[in-house]
Amino acid sequence: MNINILLFGQLTDITGIGTITMEDVADTDSVVQNLHRRFPALATSKYVVAVNKNIITGNTLLTQNSTVALLPPFSGG
């Protein structure tokens, strides 16, 4: 299963990239744990998670080609 992961704003300062692809992750908790292992500074960063452009509040199952986005605090306007 292919999952697309998008990172924005200050989070890309940590990861150095804005797009990551992961295979064999079943849910958003797994994605987050995997990212925190690879980029420890993410664990102490403020962000919310969106799946397919909708912000989620709990662990969410993913399907083929789901897009998971990590969104730091908004500052538009």
């Binding site: 704003g9 200050q10 452009k53 908004f74 500052s75 538009g76 306007g77």
Partner: protein, 147 residues
């Protein structure tokens, strides 16, 4: 079956005052309008630790932002009796003193336009996935956070 496509609100660089003037001009043929309310966000040269902000560089999660803006637009049209509503938000660099947000509502009577405009601005600031990176004179920067 037609699904209304979300309108693009993003413009590259600052919103120009002349564009705002032209947008206003375009409403002179809509003679059922009695009131326009406009909000403009301008980049401030804030001082942070003795350094001043020279520009803000905006990025977005565009697909999500446009869907969200579409939802906001529908909600506002349901709630207020508006003749029209226009929103423009900058992407990329906007220098201090330049305009990065232009919200424009029109209605027959003033209360609808005024209240709708204020509500749209609040929702844009809290709900749109847009990020502003405040750039200083040197290569330094900091990420802005809306309150």
């Amino acid at each position: 079956m037609t699904e209304r496509k979300p309108k693009n609100i993003f413009v590259e660089g600052p919103v120009l005052p002349s564009f705002i003037g032209e947008s206003i001009q375009q409403h002179s043929t809509k003679t059922n309008i009695g009131a326009h309310s406009i909000f403009l966000g301008q980049v401030r040269a804030d001082m942070v630790d003795g350094k001043s902000v020279t520009a803000i560089e905006y990025t977005t999660y565009q697909e999500m932002a446009l869907e969200k803006m579409h939802t906001i637009r529908e909600a506002i049209f349901d709630k207020y009796t508006l003749t029209c509503m226009h929103v423009y938000h900058s992407l990329g660099k906007v220098a201090a003193g330049e305009i990065s947000l232009f919200v424009f509502t029109s209605s027959a009577h003033r209360k609808a336009a005024t209240d709708a405009c204020a509500e749209i601005v609040e929702r844009i600031k809290s709900e749109l996935p847009v990020w502003g990176k405040e750039l200083f004179e040197n290569e330094e920067y900091q990420w802005k956070e809306n309150k």
